[in-house]
């Protein structure tokens, strides 16, 4: 057995180490804030930051073309403005986005541009950003449930919804082939995306009066947001729902129109209706996906809403440039209430696109232009 002397030596050794550790404590300094940067305490009134600073961009899952565009455009535009950037997509969900934002803060990002997956689950990370003096720009979707958001850049979601509603009515008049009442079905986006609710409510502002006075009928009876929402904006989920609705309600009746929240879902619904052997009714959309533009040019999908990602990216980069120069940010033109604070917002204008104006709207777009002209 270990003799007493050796055991005493072992204990002494450890006591010594502990003592040294405690002695060292007097020499340490605890930093005032994280991230190793000389961060200013208040956001918005900071002295700015220099060229070459890191701008962190945290985006949600890549579910459509406009996010692919954002992945390409952000590094391009930020580099042109003289900054370095890191763009991260959180494919696995909220937990991954939370770690990505924390990592960007640790890396010393000077500004965070966040397109949230679930805008109400980032409070902790944004509080860390606030403590480190990093301004946060909410991109495309509003971040809620936290006061630590500084700016919002988005295409007016309410206007998008109204454009969709109006175009559905327009399409019904043009294409239904018979007078009112018209049979329509409603689809909405993901319930955890704040925008999805606003799109739907905007559309219902236009459509609800028509439902109330009998011009529009919803045979499936599903008219509340909860009933029509599509978790995760997943096209398969929407397609399954349309399959069930068609089987249950449309064996004899005709479907005259569909409100679809975006192009990806619109295409899946077109597939579903086509598989059921029915003619494709006027269908709305959003995002200007190239494949949907082809369908619009061919007269299959009725409309989409153009929200050029490049405009949204440019608007965000403009805010970054003003923050870098230490100036007060004045590109915003409105305010949004996220429940905990009022966020200065740069509202951008969406454009409704149908077959008639497609060629003109996308005249300058290298990808969509040729498709709209019928050469895609």
């Amino acid at each position: 057995m270990m003799n007493v002397a050796r055991r005493k030596m072992l204990y002494a050794g450890f006591a010594g180490t502990v003592g040294v550790a405690l002695a060292l404590s007097g020499c340490s300094q605890r930093a005032g804030t994280d991230a190793g940067t000389a961060a200013s305490a208040s956001s918005g009134a900071s002295a700015g930051f220099k060229e070459g600073s890191l701008i962190g961009v945290a985006l949600p899952q890549k579910t459509s073309q406009n996010w692919e565009d954002a992945q390409r455009l952000f590094p391009e535009k930020l580099k042109a403005a003289g900054f370095t950037s890191q763009v991260q997509f959180a494919n696995s969900g909220v937990a991954e986005q939370q770690s990505q934002i924390s990592a960007l803060i640790t890396r010393g990002a000077k500004v965070l541009i966040v397109g949230p997956i679930d805008g109400s689950q980032l409070g902790t990370q944004l509080a860390q950003a606030k403590a480190a003096g990093i301004p946060v720009i909410s991109y495309d979707r509003m971040i809620t449930n936290t006061p630590d958001v500084d700016y919002l850049v988005t295409f007016q979601p309410d206007k998008v919804g109204q454009l969709q509603g109006q175009s559905l009515l327009q399409g019904l008049q043009e294409k239904a082939g018979h007078p009112a009442p018209y049979n329509v079905e409603l689809f909405a986006g993901s319930p955890d995306d704040n925008n999805a609710r606003i799109f739907f409510e905007g559309a219902m502002k236009v459509l609800q009066p028509k439902i109330d006075d009998g011009t529009l009928v919803v045979p499936s009876g599903q008219t509340t947001f909860q009933q029509v929402a599509t978790q995760g904006w997943d096209p398969k989920t929407a397609q399954n729902r349309m399959d069930s609705i068609l089987t249950a309600n449309y064996s004899g009746a005709t479907l005259d129109g569909v409100l679809s929240p975006n192009d990806t879902i619109a295409r899946s619904l077109i597939t579903s209706i086509g598989n059921a052997g029915k003619p494709i009714p006027p269908m709305t959309g959003q995002d200007s996906d190239p494949e949907s533009i082809k369908l619009i040019a061919d007269g299959v999908q009725y409309s989409t809403v153009d929200k050029p990602t490049v405009k949204q990216v440019d608007a965000s980069v403009d805010i970054v440039k003003e923050l870098a120069a230490g100036k007060k940010v004045d590109v915003t033109n409105g305010e949004s209430d996220n429940g905990k604070t009022k966020i200065p917002t740069d509202f951008l204008d969406p454009t409704l696109v149908t077959k008639d104006n497609a060629a003109q709207v996308y005249a300058d777009d290298p990808v969509r232009g040729p498709i709209a002209k019928g050469q895609g």
Partner: protein, 435 residues
């Protein structure tokens, strides 16, 4: 040395040279500490590559951001040791999260009572699944697969697919750190105390184990192996304490980490030092033999499934605390993260092998890998590819070692702390096939 002359050197054959002894000792200890060494190397690599990986704030973020997976891994390892698997933990956690959030928001239940009820709900869910596994005898894979769908659905029904914010008391569990008390020493005093406690516990446990082993005449390694092990682990604890304690004011060792530590100590104790723990290993290792020796297999199965439900509830509370709200997509994929952590930590697919501490270390390896790749700026899709490969290689290495007759890399990680129940099993192969 006085030690080796008194005890028969059961670890090496008699005429081996000194150099070979040392070599074998080093290689065996290297294998035992394989995962810990991998963890340290990863941290050093990312620190060199990014310069900020070892920032106290970053380490705290790693713990807070992955606490929920590590808590799940603590429960999952017991399930896997018993020879089962639980695919429903993510959905159960999401379900408990939404229940707790709703109780507070819609029913005005006091916060701490709501959390307690959440744990109760987790226990009920676990017991429900335990009933089907233990009493009816359906394979756990199927029961928990059904549970995954069932409780995800219930989560959507109750929560109506919306996010529900949670109050500050719950956010505390996910985001707060040990408070600042006592004189200003330049560190967080409570964290320093915790670290010293850990250090003292390490030394006391190691020495006591050695004294017991010598008293019983069991084989022990040479003293310098003990000293080296103590020095290395002690240094690791000191470095970790330093990192946590020197974080900026307001942050230190996170509360989520305290919860994790308490659970690890508790379950490691249960697994290694109680009859229940030994029965879990027995049922997983050789079910027929366990039945014949009078182990109540039904009770063991019921316990591990119920326990998993409770731990899923704990993980849920920590996660919704950190996320400040409960969301409809919570819990997606959590079971796979927990299972990956357990297998990287060295558990066997067929059951009977694995330890709680090793699973947590396995989970930390994945967490550090994730964090480091994010710091570098690697895209999320490539990160996923790397994680998949790491999981495959880690388990392949472990299987290779086992096939060679050497002990599982991590199964014996804690031989220094506590006895793993599978020690007898592993003594034989080691002396039988020497490579």
């Amino acid at each position: 040395m006085s030690t080796t002359s008194k005890v028969a050197p059961a670890t090496t054959p008699a005429p081996a040279s000194r150099a070979r002894q040392v070599g074998e000792l080093l290689s065996r200890n290297l294998r035992q500490f394989g995962m810990v060494i991998a963890l340290i190397l990863l941290l050093l690599f990312f620190q060199i590559k990014t310069g900020v990986a070892l920032n106290p704030g970053n380490i705290i973020n790693i713990i807070q951001g992955n606490a929920y997976v590590l808590i799940l891994a603590v429960g999952m390892v017991l399930v896997i040791i018993a020879g089962h698997i639980d695919l429903s933990v993510g959905s159960v956690a999401a379900f408990v999260g939404v229940v707790v959030a709703l109780l507070i928001q819609d029913w005005n239940v006091p916060v701490y009572l709501a959390m307690l009820l959440g744990l109760v709900v987790g226990a009920i869910v676990g017991a429900w699944q335990g009933f089907w596994v233990a009493v009816v005898g359906i394979p756990a894979f199927i029961v928990t697969l059904a549970g995954m769908l069932l409780f995800r659905g219930l989560n959507q029904v109750f929560g109506k697919s919306t996010t529900i914010p949670v109050p500050q008391e719950i956010i505390y569990f996910g985001t707060a750190s040990l408070p600042e008390v006592g004189p200003n020493t330049g560190f967080n005093n409570l964290t320093v105390l915790l670290g010293l406690l850990g250090l003292v516990a390490l030394v006391v446990l190691e020495l006591r184990k050695r004294r017991n082993a010598l008293r019983l005449g069991a084989p022990v390694g040479p003293t310098y192996a003990l000293v080296t092990r103590l020095v290395l682990l002690g240094a690791a604890i000191l470095v970790a304490t330093y990192l946590f304690a020197s974080a900026p004011i307001g942050r230190s060792f996170p509360i989520a980490g305290i919860i994790l530590l308490v659970l690890v100590v508790l379950y490691a104790f249960i697994a290694a030092r109680t009859p229940l723990g030994r029965h879990i290993y027995a049922v997983g290792g050789n079910r027929a033999a366990a039945v014949l020796t009078g182990v109540n297999v039904r009770r063991v199965n019921f316990f591990v499934m119920t326990n998993m439900g409770v731990l899923a509830a704990v993980a849920a509370i920590v996660f919704i605390g950190r996320s400040t709200s409960s969301g409809p997509a919570d819990g997606t994929g959590w079971e796979l993260d927990a299972i990956a952590a357990v297998f990287i930590g060295g558990a066997a697919v067929s059951g009977g092998i694995g330890t709680v501490v090793a699973s947590v270390i396995g989970g930390l390896v994945i967490a550090v890998l994730n964090n480091g790749l994010q710091l570098i700026g690697v895209q999320a899709d490539i990160t996923q590819v790397i994680k998949g490969l790491v999981l495959l290689l880690a388990v392949a290495l472990d299987v290779y070692n086992k096939r060679q007759g050497k002990p599982s890399i991590i199964a014996l990680l804690q031989r220094g702390f506590q006895r793993s129940s599978t020690t007898p099993e592993h003594e034989q192969p080691r002396s039988a096939t020497k490579v």
